[in-house]
Each structure stands twice: as C-alpha cells, then as structure tokens.
C-alpha cells in the first residue's frame, strides 16, 4: 500500500519508463552516487571533442618546411603590425612555435597579452587555424602546398549581468 501511495505522489502521470526506483531505494539506499550511471552511446556523444577545431591534413612530414600567414586583429594588430605576418619554419612547427615566433618579433608585451605565465594562451585570446578554432597548441602544423593561416583576436571584456 505505501509503495502505491508513494508512486502516486511522485508522479503517476509519467510514462512507464520514469519510475522512482523506490524498491531498490528501500532495500539499497546506499547506491554510490558514482556507481549509478552506466556508460551508453549517448555518453560517448556527450564527451566527444567539439567539432570546432581541426588539424591540417598531414600531407607532408611534420618536420617539413612550412609557411604560415598570421593575421592579428583588434589591439593585437594596430599600427605596428601589417597583416599578414608571414612566418617561415624550416623544419615545421606547432601553434606554440608560432606564438613564440610572434613573441620574438613583436616583443614580450605581445606574449604577456596572449599567454599566461604557464605558457598557455589566455581564454580571452581566440586563435583560429585555417578557419577553425585551434585545438591543441602542441600539434604540428603540417601543410601540403598551401600556406597555413592563423588568426588571433582578443576578447578582453569582463562584464556581469
């Protein structure tokens, strides 16, 4: 009787799949919070990497020479920068290498604006590689016959709401 009453209270208007697992709860109210979930296909989908970043097709060896055009926008650019900056790497590079080279050319102040003390770009610095959000700074940038294109811009606003 108590079980039926509680069923009504908890929502008898739900479909049969939604059931307060009171039977299990009553006899086993010590189901570990982290032991409840079973892995499902949906779980895999949820934790997939977002489809907003890409590596270039690896048509050449990661250590092959690469030319990268860098476009700096907003206050990363300005009068001292003529877009695009063309960077040449004789033995390939990664995005981290691109940032290091930019730091050498534009000075430590530039790097302080885009990279934190631990070497990671600030979240406020949006970097795209060939039109997609740069995924991993350590991944080698490999090119075929085209030049890789990097864009950088800062979104530094801090506002509430």
């Amino acid at each position: 009787m108590w079980r039926r009453l509680i069923w009504i209270k908890m929502g008898a208007n739900r479909d049969s799949q939604d059931a307060v697992d009171l039977l299990h709860g009553k006899t086993n109210l010590s189901v570990r919070w982290d032991a409840v979930v079973k892995r499902t296909d949906s779980f895999q989908s949820l934790t997939r990497a977002p489809d907003t970043g890409t590596d270039l097709p690896e048509t050449t060896h990661p250590a092959a020479p690469v030319e990268i055009q860098v476009w700096l926008f907003g206050n990363l650019g300005g009068p001292r920068v003529t877009n695009p900056l063309t960077l040449h790497f004789a033995e390939g590079c990664s995005m981290r290498g691109v940032l290091d080279e930019l730091g050498r050319r534009l000075g430590p102040e530039f790097l302080r604006t885009v990279v934190s003390e631990n070497g990671e770009p600030f979240n406020t610095c949006r970097i795209s590689l060939n039109g997609e959000l740069a995924k991993d700074l350590a991944t080698p940038i490999c090119v075929g016959t085209s030049t890789a294109s990097v864009e950088m811009i800062l979104f530094r606003e801090i506002e509430g709401g």
Binding site: V36, L46, E159, G160
Partner: protein, 866 residues
C-alpha cells in the same frame, strides 16, 4: 535601407509572425498578429520551450512599448555642452550622416591614441546585443564593457558561483522531480527572472505535485506567497542560516553523500597548514589519502571509494587533512543558536530545515528517466538576487550551494540544476555543442560562458588594463569603479595608463540603475564624448552628445535570442531545446535604425572591418564555409543567415527560421543530468581563493589599499554588511530592493499598460514595512515618509504596511525614480531606491566588487502626511 526589414511592407495583410519577446531577458518565443501593417496582439508560441506557449503580462504589453509616441525617431545632437542633472541638452535634430561622421571621427582619434579609452555600456534586457557589441569592442581593441546596473547589482556572486559549481549562469530546482526546494532570496518560477514564463508552469506543476517549497526572504513576496513555508530572515544574512543548516547536516545528523563528495568534489584533497592543496612534487597534482594503501597519492590515481574524507595525515612532510575534515571542523561554530542570533531565524527552525533537507535528499537513491538510471536527490537549495545584493554575497552563495553539495544534489534528477550547462547539439548537426571539462586539478571548467573570462580557473591578478580594475580582483565581473566616486583615486593608485574619454551606451539607464544619481552624473559628465542608442530620451541619454534612435524588439532581427542556453532564457530540466530568433514585425518609424547596422557602418568608417569580421568569426565559431572573409562588407541579415546555417545546416538559414521562428529538439537525460557522466569536480573548499587573495594583496597593499583576508578564506563564513554594523539610534530598518514582476529594470515604467497594472498593485510603487512595527511607530498605510541613509541620502515614498515583512525590513520594488521628460508615463512613479546607494570601495565587496545594496535606514513622516 534597414537590414532585416526589407520584407515588411505597408500593405493589407493579416499574418502571425513568429519572433521573440524582449520586455525582459527571458526572450520567450512569441507570435505577433499584424493586420494591415499594425501589430494588434502578441501571444506565446506553443512550439517553443521558451515560454511554453505562455506569455506574462509584460510580454503581452509589448505593443504599448512599441507604439509609445515618445519613441525616438531621429538622431539628436546636444548643443548645450554643460552636462548635469537638470541641464537641458538643447537637442537639435541631425542627419544620420552628420551623426556617424562625428562619431567616427572621434572613434578614429581614440583608437589611434589608445582604444581602451572607449567604454561601452549596455542594458541587460536584450541579451542578443552581446554578439555585435563584444565583437565591435574586440575589433576596436577596448576591454571596457559593462552591463550597467543590471550587471553590477545582479550577479557578481550569483553568476560566478553558479559557474564554478554548476557550469551555468544561474541555478534552479529540477521542478519536474524536486520534492523539497529551499529558496534564499530567489523567485525562480514565481516572478520575473531567468526563463520566467517557462518556469512558472514548471513551478506550478511542481507545487501541484506536492513539492515543498521553503522561501527564505525578508519579504513574503512572489515566491513566498506560493510557498509551503516562508522563513523571514534579517536582510543579508543568508550565509548564516545556510552555514548553520550545513552544520546540522554534517555534525548533528552526519547525513552527507560521501561517495558524491569523494568522486565529484575536492572534499578528499589534502590541505596543508598553508590552506593550500598538498601536491605531488613531480606532477603537481593534488594528493588524497588512499585508505587502501594508507598513503598519500595523486587524486587521479586513487579510486574514489578509497579516498579519505576525514582524518589527520602526513604527506610531503606536512600535517594535512582532507578538505572535508576542514569543512566539518569549520562548521562546528555555526550552531543554530548562533544562526538565530545573526539571522533571527529561530534555532529550532534552523535544525528542522537542516534535517528536512538532508532527509528529503534521499541519499543513495536512484531513478530511471527515459530509460537511463540516474542518482536521485530531490532537493534543491537555490539563491539569487536577494542573497546576491550584498558585500558578503560570495559566501552567501557558496554557503547555500554547499547544502546541495553535501547531499549530492547537484545536476542530477530532482536536484539543483544549472541552466543547461551541457548541450550535445541538434541531432542532425551536433551543434551547438558544449560540455564542461576538468582542468589539471580536476576542478570543473565551464563548457561555455558569457564572455571569455571564465569563472574558474581564475586568472592571476595583475595590474589593471580595465577601468573597472577587475584585473586586480579576478573574481569580479561587473565593477563599481566604472562609475564610482573614488574612481580617479583608484585609477591613480593602480597606475591605470589611460583614462576613458568616450562612452557608447546601448539602452542602459545607468543614472537610475547603478547608484545615487549624483555620483553617476559626475562620472558621465567627465566623458568628452558620449553616444547613446536609445528608444526614449532617458535620464542617461540626456548626458549624451549624440542620441541615436534604435529599433525596438518588434523591429529587430537577431539570429540567437535564446542562445547561449545556459544563460537567462532557456528553462532547465527535461523537455525540448529551443533556439529562437527575433525578426522584424514592423518597419522602422522615422529614421530609426538597428544598432547592428549602425555599428557596421561605424566599423567601415573607422576602418576596422577586417577586425570586426574576424571577431564575428571567432565569437560565433563560424566554420570555414560560413566565415566572413577579409574586409568584405556583410549585412546583419547575411551574418544572421550564416549563424543559423552554421549551426543547423545549409537548409535552415534565415528564411527557414523566419517562417517558423524556432527550432526545437528533445533534450536527453545525459544532457540535463550530466554530472554522473563527466569526471569533473567542484570545490567545496575554495582553495584558489587563498592564492587570489595573496595576488590581489601583493598588488594592492604596496599601493595603500588593505585587502581584508577574511573575504579570501577557502571556507565560507558570515561576514556582516555595513548595514549590520550600524549602531546609530533611530536607524532601525534595513532597506532592500526586489525585482518587481510587473516591471523590467527601469525601462517598462514607460509602458502605459504596465504602469496601470503597477498602480493597481499595492506594492509596486510603495515602501513595504512590517505592519506591527509600522503601527508601533505611529505610521499608517499610505503615509508619505522619508527614508534616510546613514550618509544622509533621502528618498520619499508611500508606505504599504504588510504582515509578511521582517520587522527590520523595508522593501522597495526597483527600478523607479524617473524624471526625464522623454518618458512621461514613467516620470514620478515609484520609489527611487538606488538614490540611497553609495558607490565606492567602502561599499563594495573586496573580493568580487559586489556593490552593497542593503542600506540601514531611518524612517520619518514627510511633511503634510498624517
């Protein structure tokens, strides 16, 4: 020709046009009935989860805002250079060309000198403005943006803590399954606020189902009126009540969800004598005590069930304890008797509430939702604007959410939910997709946020680049320093290398919404040049050099009014996702233009088109097929079309959405009850606060600014507001303002229908006082009284005596006090509570810069009142 309105013709027609409301930030989906070119009715759209087919009184009144004869229709230029309250600007009409020429000339100069000299203010009411405005700011190169009063008052703690703990902007009970909700200064589902109309139905169904709702609030207001129990408490003491309840749960009852704490919080992390994590030397990972081998090991290497939550240990040569042990010991001093003394809530009530919450949590139980077995914790502790509006707001929120964390009631069935922090995307495109992740310490980082300064991990404090000085105070979002009385002193102190010269204001009325008008007026008068996009001539636009007539929401186009889903408009819990748009129902009147078009025009005149395109690409995450190219001009319509196709496929562009207004698809349990699916932890011990405090102090104290460390302790405490410290005789009330369901910010007081409703409502335009206290003081209903603050600021209003008010409380519905001739319906209505507010360092939180919004007051009869 205004973008987006090319299809609206003056012709005979009888059509229903889907769009979205903007009378508040909920952006409910609407259908507007237009007959022969005139909008005659607005209803909700039943095909949308946003509003669920319903519309509140504000939404249906939108016609009156649109057709208000006081709407601006031409650009205006001030001719009187003197700016101040009561100064006649001497407006003259100018052409758009003249206006844009002048604005562009100024902006070009500023950009060449230092783009940071530009400061952009915007209203919180229309969320969709965020994309073009932030893109413009990024392209221009200024970090200085503010969401005006709504931004400063509303969420420095609420949004920040919700972000850290629930990867979301705000929190709400899982109405469909919650059995016991306790609200601390919140009204979710019972008034205005996030996803208000959608939540009203959800909350009503929950109450009918039998959900017990306890509302903790100094005023028996919208939520309390529907509650099972109203618990009046002293204004600004939410943390005291919450901490005492936590003590009952942890130390009296011992009812905590150990497995949850072990696996999804930093409760097992070992804490050393320096209050910081004890870390493995090679990897720097936080250590936990592994009970299976009786040794300290990195948290990644230990099964959750073997992580100690209590005890004293030695690791790396130091004595240490799990964070939960620290918490348990810390909570002991917050006895119910102590809680009663601080909050005035009886100790017996505190014990009962703590016990009810813990028992109703059903720790260890499970439930099956759409075939998925999930943890079931049908309790939720919710806080919002009431607990948020104080110097002690951070700990108010941390303490309230601790209730959820202790029993595992976080983003699982029936529990406290963030507003949609996880989205797996449309079934056909997989977009939009965002999921929280773990940073190296295992602590959760949001999957998506409003801007790019994430709530966690905090950036290192550093010398400021922003006029709000948030760089020095990394936990701050809105800042009072953009308008404070002591801003010059603090800019000097912190060596700000420039001073703001130009302001662009979009729709905000900061003279009314931020603090006392004199302080704000002084700040505004300092700007060398100010442009204001407005619908009406407001108190703030009267400080502008140029006023530009904007389109209203029935005239606007926007591709994303409900997105991001974690934000303000989309209901949480199961149901559908709905992405809606806003489209023009009516043409511009006179020379009105949409601000998006105006910004685009300025972008070209200034010469930053390529930068603006790049910013839009980055902001909207355009894939290569849809990216804006180089410095090519794109209309706002083209950008909206690209945004929609980018997310929903080439067949679902603007035309598709204009026909339907919304796209909906079902939510999955894994998206809503996502915590068990992700290996992310939240902090019940805010270890990072210690480091933030040291960094801030390292910058501030050599410059003469003492940083009180009690605000930077890793475990929550009750810290009194200034109102709690007032000992002046006769100052025996604490004033506060609350969100009125009838009005949104200061804007809707101009709406004739809403004004009429507010005049009929006994509370909207009055000062609510406890009836027994009032009568003892010889005051009566309707008496005209002065409210005076400790600093001598005064406002006048009429009393409304009510039983449902804490004896010390005075409640005023915000945000009134209009005097502008440009808003004649609003003029003189209501009580201008913000007039009582000081705005300076001493009246804000030293950790998150939250302005202290409660004020100790003296009440006296106004002359002539009997």
């Amino acid at each position: 020709m205004n973008v987006g309105v090319s299809e609206v013709r003056s012709q005979r027609d009888d059509v229903w046009i889907p769009s979205s409301c903007a009378l508040c930030y909920c952006d409910c989906s609407i259908r507007v009935h237009r007959v022969d070119g005139t909008a005659i009715k607005i209803e909700g759209d039943p095909d949308s989860a946003l509003g669920k087919g319903r519309l509140c009184g504000k939404g249906v009144s939108g016609l009156m805002s649109h057709y208000d004869p006081n709407r601006l229709t031409v650009p205006l230029r001030r001719t009187n250079p003197k700016k101040g309250i009561g100064e006649d600007p001497g407006w003259k009409e100018i052409s758009w060309d003249e206006a844009l020429d002048e604005i562009a000339t100024v902006l070009k100069r500023v950009r060449a000198e230092d783009p940071r000299k530009l400061f952009i203010q915007r209203t919180t009411t229309v969320l969709a403005v965020s994309v073009p405005i932030t893109s413009f700011a990024a392209a221009f190169g200024t970090p200085n943006l503010s969401a005006s009063g709504g931004g400063l008052h509303c969420g420095n703690a609420a949004h920040h803590v919700s972000g850290v703990m629930h990867s979301s902007w705000s929190i709400v009970p899982d109405f469909e399954y919650c059995n016991y909700a306790i609200y601390f200064g919140a009204s979710k589902g019972h008034s205005a606020g996030h996803a208000a109309t959608s939540n009203m139905k959800l909350a009503a169904d929950a109450r009918t189902r039998g959900m017990k709702m306890v509302v903790v609030d100094p005023m028996c207001n919208y939520a309390s009126a529907k509650a099972t129990e109203w618990v009046p408490l002293r204004v600004g003491t939410d943390a005291a009540l919450a901490l005492a309840m936590c003590n009952v749960i942890v130390n009296d009852l011992g009812m905590v969800d150990g497995p949850y704490l072990q696996s999804r919080t930093n409760a097992p992390y070992l804490i050393g004598p320096d209050k910081l994590y004890v870390r493995e030397r090679q990897t720097n990972k936080p250590l936990v005590w592994d009970t299976s081998v009786e040794a300290a090991r990195p948290f990644t290497d230990v099964a959750a069930e073997n992580m100690a939550l209590e005890g004293d240990y030695e690791a790396n040569g130091v004595r240490c304890q799990p964070a939960f042990q620290k918490l348990r010991d810390h909570l002991k001093k917050f006895t119910p008797e102590w809680g009663e003394q601080v909050s005035t809530v009886p100790a017996a009530t505190i014990r009962r509430l703590g016990s009810e919450f813990a028992h109703e949590a059903r720790i260890g139980s499970t439930i099956v939702v759409k075939g998925v077995t999930l943890p079931y914790r049908p309790v939720a502790a919710i806080a919002f604007r009431g607990a948020q509006g104080h110097m002690n707001s951070l700990y108010n929120f941390v303490a309230v959410d601790l209730l959820n964390q202790l029993v595992g009631a976080a983003d699982v069935v029936g529990s406290c939910l963030g507003y949609n922090p996880v989205c797996d995307g449309h079934p056909e495109t997989g977009l939009p997709h965002y999921v929280p992740t773990a940073e190296p310490d295992g602590i959760m980082k949001v999957g998506l946020w409003r801007g790019f300064h994430l709530p966690y991990p905090p950036v290192n404090a550093r010398m400021p680049e922003t006029i709000g000085l948030q760089d020095v105070f990394p936990l701050a979002m809105g800042s009072p320093f953009v308008e404070s009385d002591d801003q010059d002193e603090f800019w000097e102190k912190f060596e700000l290398p420039y001073r703001p010269e130009v302001m662009i204001n979009w729709g905000s009325n900061l003279v009314l919404s931020v603090a006392n008008r004199e302080s704000i007026a002084r700040t505004l008068a300092k700007y060398k040049f100010m442009v204001s996009f407005d619908l009406f001539l407001t108190e703030t636009s009267n400080f502008a050099d140029i006023v530009l007539p904007d389109l209203g929401y029935l005239q606007q186009l926007d591709s994303r009014t409900s997105y991001p889903f974690y934000w303000c408009s989309h209901p949480a819990g199961m149901g559908d996702w709905s992405w809606n748009i806003r489209q023009p129902v009516l043409p511009p009147d006179g020379q009105q233009r949409g601000f998006q078009d105006v910004l685009a025009e300025l972008v070209d005149r200034i010469g930053i088109r390529a930068d603006y395109n790049a910013a839009i690409n980055a902001r909207l995450l355009f894939k290569p097929d849809y990216r804006l190219q180089g410095d090519r001009r794109y209309s706002w319509e083209e950008i909206c079309d690209a945004d929609l196709k980018n997310n929903f496929g080439p067949q679902r562009g603007l035309d598709w959405f204009k026909e339907r207004g919304v796209i909906s698809w079902p939510k999955k349990p894994e998206e809503i009850y996502w915590r068990p699916f992700l290996e992310v932890r939240v902090p019940i011990y805010w270890e990072f606060l210690v480091t933030v405090g040291e960094q801030t102090a390292a910058i501030a104290e050599p410059r003469g600014l003492k940083i009180p460390r009690e605000y930077y302790e890793p475990l929550p405490n009750f810290l009194p507001c200034l109102s709690h410290c007032c000992k002046k005789p006769d100052f025996d009330f604490t004033g506060f303002y609350y969100r009125d369901a009838i009005h949104t910010n200061s804007y809707t007081l101009e709406n004739a229908w809403l004004d009429e409703a507010a005049q009929l409502d006994p509370y909207s335009y009055t000062i609510a006082m406890n009836a027994d206290v009032g009568r003892k003081k010889g005051l009566h209903d309707g008496a005209s009284v002065w409210l005076e603050s400790e600093t001598g600021r005064k406002v006048k209003g009429r009393l409304k005596l009510m039983q449902g008010m804490h004896p010390e409380g005075l409640g005023i519905a915000a945000c009134a006090g209009h005097w502008s001739e440009g808003m004649p319906t609003a003029k003189g209505k209501g009580v201008a509570y913000n007039e009582l507010l000081e705005i300076d360092w001493h009246h804000c939180s030293p950790v998150n810069l939250n302005l202290d919004l409660c004020v100790r007051l003296k009440v006296s009869l106004a002359e002539g009142s009997r």
